[in-house]
Amino acid sequence: MTFNELDPARAWSAFEPTATTPWDRAAAAHLFRRIGFGADSGQLDDAAAQKPADVVRRLVRGENADEAATKELDTLGDTVAASGNPEALAAWWLHRMIHTTDAALEKLTLFWHGHFATSGAKVRDSRLMLAQNRMFRQHARGRFAEMVQAVSRDPAMLLYLDSATNRKVHPNENYAREVMELFCLGLDNYTERDIQETARAFTGWEVRSGRFRFNSFQHDTGEKTLFGQRGNYDGDAAIAIILDQPAAARFIAGKLFRYYIADEPAPRAELIEPIAEMLRENGFEIGPVVERMAGSELFFSPHARGRKIRSPVELAIDLLKGLETTTNTKRLAEDLLQLGQGVFFPPNVKGWDGGRSWLNSSTLLGRANLARRLVEDSKDRFADGSLAALVEKHANSPEKAVDWLAGILLAKPLADESRKTLVEVAARGDRSDAYKNLVAAVGTLPEFQLG
């Protein structure tokens, strides 16, 4: 039975713990992994002791966010962007993901970065890339229409899509096409005519000296026909008409489903319709939709748990947060690029495909090596102590060490054979090396690839 066979109303109803699906550390770990970037042992204990709905609300809304810490991370971003190097900016964002007090916001920002994919490799201006990143963060939980309007004025996006100039005598269809296909509606939900007319609506939207500028002399003030509606539309009006199409809410709901619930199969229209309807009713406000998804029966059901392949970013940040440690994020950014997910460097305008595309023979080896490198590079920063001290704070035997680590890092229960092997690794040799070897061994497990 797949989730597509579930009753939609039941699937999206509020999660009620049962004997078979209890609210426990494993359920909390699943929530933190999906909505944020993993959690350490203490966070899991705290969460398991609270009501699930409260934990979901606090996490999704970022109620525990520390304003001072956030401001510090913002300032660090400005400083790093001044270097002019988008690669350094990638290191900053990874640092932010590790140290943020609002992990759900960073996870959503990463979602929008993949959705409105823009690469620093082409833009080559770290300040523009940072400004875009901030814009995603600012609108991440807010109204999608405002996000699209902001994206349509975003210099980094317009430079990336070669839309820095858009003149009325020769409308540039690049951006209009992406708005339809990739940002708002998806394929087969628009016509070529819609693209041409939208491009006319965006004429005069330019980038000059790294800033958005509306050039009224180049704006086509003529009447346009969009999805059967006629009028003298500008870009904002065109966005409103596009988002008014029935396909828009389904498209966004479907992408959020893939991001937060499961990679595959594709959800049937009926299953995601309640989410799409919620988007329509709430003016496409994203935060409440994510909160509903995260607090649903479906989210905590076996149909969602361990049903996603971890992206390289999730793999690394989950591990670091779970083990209360940090790393050289410059090097991590390079490693993630090799594994197919360079933040600020998506492969193309479609962003990352995700799911099974994360895995191949090369990346599997790279992901395992990354796990080892992260624990070896972290030295004595595991909760400000050694890895051995951290593990032994929670486990007094190799068996318990394996179980504790699995509870933190794995989305699925360990197979008996795997557990046996890991216990042998944990019991072998010097304590410090044994636990590093244990984490590295966990990194090679199929279970570790699932989030």
Partner: protein, 626 residues
Amino acid sequence: MRSALVSVVSPRRVRWLVGWIVAGVVLYCAAMPRLAVADEAVADGAGDAIAAAAASKSAAELLPASTVFYAEVARPGELVDTLLGHPLRKRVESLDAYRAAVLSKQYLQFNFGLAVAEAAVGMKWDEAVKTLAGDGVFLGIDAGTQGGVVLVHATDAKKLAAVRDKLFAFVRSDARNKGKDDPIEEIEYRGVKAYKLGEGYAATLGPWLMLTNKTETGKLVIDRAADAKESTLAGKMEFLSARNSVGEHPTAWSYVDVATLRSAGLLAKVLGDKTDNLVVELLVGGLLSNLGNTPYATAALYIDDKQVRLVASAPHDPSWVAKPREFYFGPEGKGAAPIALRPDQTALSLVTHRDLGGVWLAAPDLLDEKGNAGLSQADSNLSTFFSGKEFGREILGAFEPELQIVLARQDYAKTGGGVPEIKLPSGAIVLRMKEPEKMQQKLKVAFQSIVGFLNIVGGQNGLPQLDQNTERRTDGLVVSAEYMMDDDAQRTNGKIYHNFSPTVAVVGDHFIIASTKQVAQMLVEAATHPASGSATNGDSPSVAAVNTALEVDAAVVHALLDDNRGQLVAQNMLEKGHEKAKAEAEIGTILDVVSWFERASLRLTTPSDRLELELAVRLADSASKP
């Protein structure tokens, strides 16, 4: 010979030798006091006469003439006193990084071992070193036997023998407790007992403790202790000349037999391969000419409360420098660096004698194929900016063989432009024109061409345009190009290009190429009013002998780092994963350490028939006082 020498200096052997030195000296010194009352034979059996003879000889008299490397610390006790009593010691100990290091597992293990040894002998290690190695520690590497030897001269031969016996007794006892065979094998040569332990050998010769990795090398030492007719290092003219060339009372000094190393082929790669990089040739070309001919080289280290100074020296003859490398020391080796112009806030100043036109033209003889290909392309491209003139002959050749490079901290409040987030120092190159009247217009036009080119390229990359301005300043002409500002928003936390306002200036026969107008203006002032104190001769009492002088002002470097503290903290956070507070603490430590210093300097001089390279690091007054 080559393989033999390679074998002697292989990393494994060096590690072994260093291990022996440390182990031998520390254990010997640490074990000494308890055995101070021992009244045993000074030497072993028939070796008494040899030991007695050795007592009156120097280390150089005990080492063979075939010694290719010699080093000595004549007064280890003084060195220990200097280091332990140094004003910087308390500052170092107050650093968080130091406190963390002394809590590390490795340090605690080391300290435990040392404490055990000290407890066993009832004396601190530093006191033991001063007592027992008071007359010096010496190292020699012999080419003939491929062996290294360490000689430690005790102040009391009896104590030395007693320590040796105690040490061996300890080793034997330890082996017995572990159920192992006697690890020490006794051998004898000319009545002197020597002891083999692992790969090494030890013997005492009166007040001398000898440690070596080769019996043959040890025998050479014993032979020289026994027989005055044996050829010794002390009897070698080159060594005597080397010793005499070293200044008074160095903390440590060393001698290298370069001729032997050269004939063994050890320097073949360094001396034979051509570089592909003209800058490398400019930096070390002349030194390589010397290395290809000089018989020996010395290095002397001087440490006191104020500074650390390392002086490397070698005999030199201008005729050793082939024609293509005449650019380095000048004809007959008489080239001298210019007087340094020192604008305010100079972080680094380099003055040197280098004939840029000469090296450019001689490049086919100096660079490899790749280097020459690159140079040809550069020559062609640069000629474009100089109206098709030949860059090497007609442009570089139009300058005197004198060069100054200046890096200075910028004062953004005075520039009136944007303030960049990353604050780079201004850079400038100062040259002297042979015919100022002929050259200055050509150079000005070339600068205009380059600015035009930069505007086209910059425009394509979204950079603002450079606006050219010309101004007369005292007796100089300053032609600058400054980035046009769009609006006030760009004036703070600006982009990195705000560090630049490309400028050329002409004053007298000086031609200045600068990254900013500000530093160019200050250099024009310094050249116009050298008596104002902004122009000096690099503190050199004999300017003519100075080929190259580099000086770094630590206070300005500190200010530069402090200007970029935010960036440094950010980099630390990203690279080390630190929280801001910890990153700030680490960067603060680095800045603290820089503030301990006043300046660092490097000078290459050619006094009479020598070549001398001196590196000095001087402490700030505040750091050199207790």
